[in-house]
């Protein structure tokens, strides 16, 4: 179910035609019909989640696996709530590997995937609410 708060007429249209990596269904369910809330949550996402993702990459680069696990754990809830399907399992794998310190060599690539997907989400979301 597509949810566009404002259908934009400019070039951002081609962004909308690309398949969304996320879904605002849950946010809507929570909102109780409050459009302001949906907008607020989207903005909050755009504001805070990239920061967390940055932290993920940094701690991965510095091999701070404990921090990696923690950040991955934190991102999990939001990824689930926003139904960002492509990285649902990925973030879990990162958390588990980092925590148990297994298959650590896979982790950086997974973190990169997260970064990429989230960045794309931000773009798509920004378009959606403009």
């Amino acid at each position: 179910m597509e949810t566009s708060l404002v259908k934009s007429n400019n070039s951002e249209n081609n962004v909308l035609s690309k398949e969304k990596l996320y879904s605002l269904d849950m946010v809507e369910a929570v909102s109780g019909g409050n459009k302001e809330f949906i907008k607020k949550m989207v903005l909050l996402f755009i504001e805070t989640i990239p920061k967390d993702v940055k932290q993920l990459s940094n701690s991965c680069a510095s091999k701070d696996w404990a921090q990696v696990a923690k950040t991955a754990h934190k991102l999990k809830s939001t990824i689930d709530s926003m139904a960002i399907k492509s990285i649902k399992e990925v973030v879990r794998t990162i958390e588990s590997n980092a925590k148990n310190q297994t298959s650590l060599e896979q982790v950086p690539a997974l973190c990169d995937k997260i970064t990429a997907v989230i960045n794309e989400c931000v773009v798509q979301l920004s378009a959606e609410i403009m």
Partner: protein, 452 residues
């Protein structure tokens, strides 16, 4: 009832997720939802007594179990719901054991689970409140069945009055025929009132010689009069903080009535021959079979004392107006007598019950008891039949005339009396009363007379 807003505090370090939860729960207008990103922030506001706390178990640099423990320590009534990404059953069980109300895993259904958990919690809270209210209500439904037995409409009215009397110290004046249970009513009031653990003192004013009544009630000092060898505490002092039941108050000497009135008004007594006053706090219940208003009119009773004593008037119905209570009480007396005298149980035959129901019981419950005890002794087998029941009424013509009933009713009573006297010999009775036997038979057919 506490104020209607239900306080929900969320401890969640993930701003985005926390905001989501907060908004969702806020959709319920009865909830006041606050969000904290660290336990520190939360504990600063713990004094506001939230009803529910949702706690993210995997908070950074923090032990969720420790937070739970601290919350429970501060206020065990606060319900804690743990939300966590952990799926460790052992951890969950441990937390639940340590006082967590619920444990919810973070997934797509979390917000709904949380919502339901809080609803469930509130239901429990409401149920607990309801139980408390019901408990108080049940406590208030007094059980008078130990003192007064009966289910008739007439006696139920008395129960209702007693219930009203138990919660305050209002003076109660009980009227009723002799043997109708006035002292029982007084006891029922006392033992269901806040004074139940304190003395219940009875004074039968009619039973005490006139010259001794004053010292009986108010006590006397040593040497106050001939025979007063020691100081004596009167009944009023004996009943201090409790209840004083003055039976046959109508018999109180007019001179003492003045003293009684002053005692009731000042709430203090002076012993006979004494100088000082003693403060007393007594709940007064009085009883009389007389019509006090009549006594006032006849100048036998002081009007001011009358008004002081009337309080809540309770009129005890005579046994004959209590319908089936006669049978209930009869069975009660039979059972008690059999038990006390170690006899096998006896029952009351339907015919015997009928006989009881038709009798007027001028002596009321007291008379019924005596009749039933005799009946138990007279009955050889285990069933009491009508011939075992004998009524010893001294029913004279003035008794009959004291009632105001129709001529027809008088007729019926007279004929029935003769029938009872002459063993239901219709021919003989008809001859004695000089009426046709068919008249009697007709009345029997109409159910007005009984020849069984």
């Amino acid at each position: 009832m506490k104020d209607q807003t239900f306080k929900v505090y969320i401890i969640e370090d993930d701003t985005w997720y926390g905001s989501m939860l907060q908004h969702y729960l806020s959709l319920n207008p009865e909830y006041e939802v606050k969000r904290f990103e660290s336990p520190g922030e939360f504990f600063a506001e713990l004094h506001n007594k939230p009803d529910v706390v949702t706690l993210d178990y995997s908070l950074p640099d923090c032990d969720g179990a420790e937070v739970l423990r601290k919350i429970k320590e501060t206020n065990p009534d606060i319900r804690v719901i743990i939300i966590s990404g952990q799926e460790d059953v052992a951890t969950a069980i441990n937390l639940l054991k340590n006082g967590a109300f619920d444990y919810i895993v973070k997934d797509d259904d979390t917000k709904d689970r949380l919502w339901n958990s809080i609803l469930h919690l509130r239901e429990i809270s409401d149920l607990k409140q309801e139980v408390e209210t019901l408990k108080t209500q049940v406590g208030r439904k007094y059980d008078f069945s130990e003192m007064i037995i009966g289910k008739s409409e007439a006696i139920k009215k008395v129960f209702a009055l007693i219930e009203k009397a138990v919660s305050t110290n209002i003076t109660v004046s009980i009227t009723g025929e002799t043997g109708s249970g006035k002292e029982m009513v007084a006891k029922a009031i006392h033992y269901n009132s806040p004074r139940s653990k304190l003395p219940f003192v009875t004074v039968n004013v009619a039973a005490i010689p006139r010259d001794l009544i004053e010292s009986e009630l108010f006590g006397h000092e040593k040497g106050a009069f001939t025979g007063a060898v020691t100081r004596r505490i009167g009944k009023f002092e004996e009943a201090d903080k409790g209840t004083l039941f003055l039976d046959e108050i109508g018999e109180l000497d007019i001179n003492l009535q003045a003293k009684l009135l002053r005692v009731l008004q000042e709430k203090e007594i002076t012993r006979v021959g004494g100088n000082g006053t003693v403060k007393i706090d007594v709940r007064i219940i009085v009883a009389t079979h007389k019509n006090l208003m009549e006594e006032v009119k006849n100048k036998n009773f002081r009007e001011d004392l009358y008004y002081r004593l009337i309080g809540m008037p309770v009129n005890l119905p005579p046994l004959r107006e209590r319908d089936n209570d006669i049978c209930i009480l009869a069975k009660h007396f039979i059972d008690n007598f059999c038990k006390d005298n170690k006899l096998p149980k006896k029952t009351l035959s339907p015919e015997a019950q009928q006989k009881l129901l038709q009798y007027s019981f001028p002596g009321n419950v007291r008379e019924l008891k005596s009749v039933m005890e005799l009946a138990v002794v007279m009955a050889d087998d285990d069933s009491i039949s009508p011939e075992h029941i004998t009524f010893n009424t001294t029913s004279s013509i003035s008794d009959l005339l004291s009632k105001e009933i129709t001529l027809k009713a008088f007729e019926v009573q007279v004929i029935q009396h003769y029938l009872d006297k002459y063993n239901k010999d219709v021919l003989l009775v008809a001859k004695k009363l000089d009426i046709g036997k068919s008249t009697i038979y007709r009345m029997v057919q109409m159910g007005e007379l009984n020849i069984k």
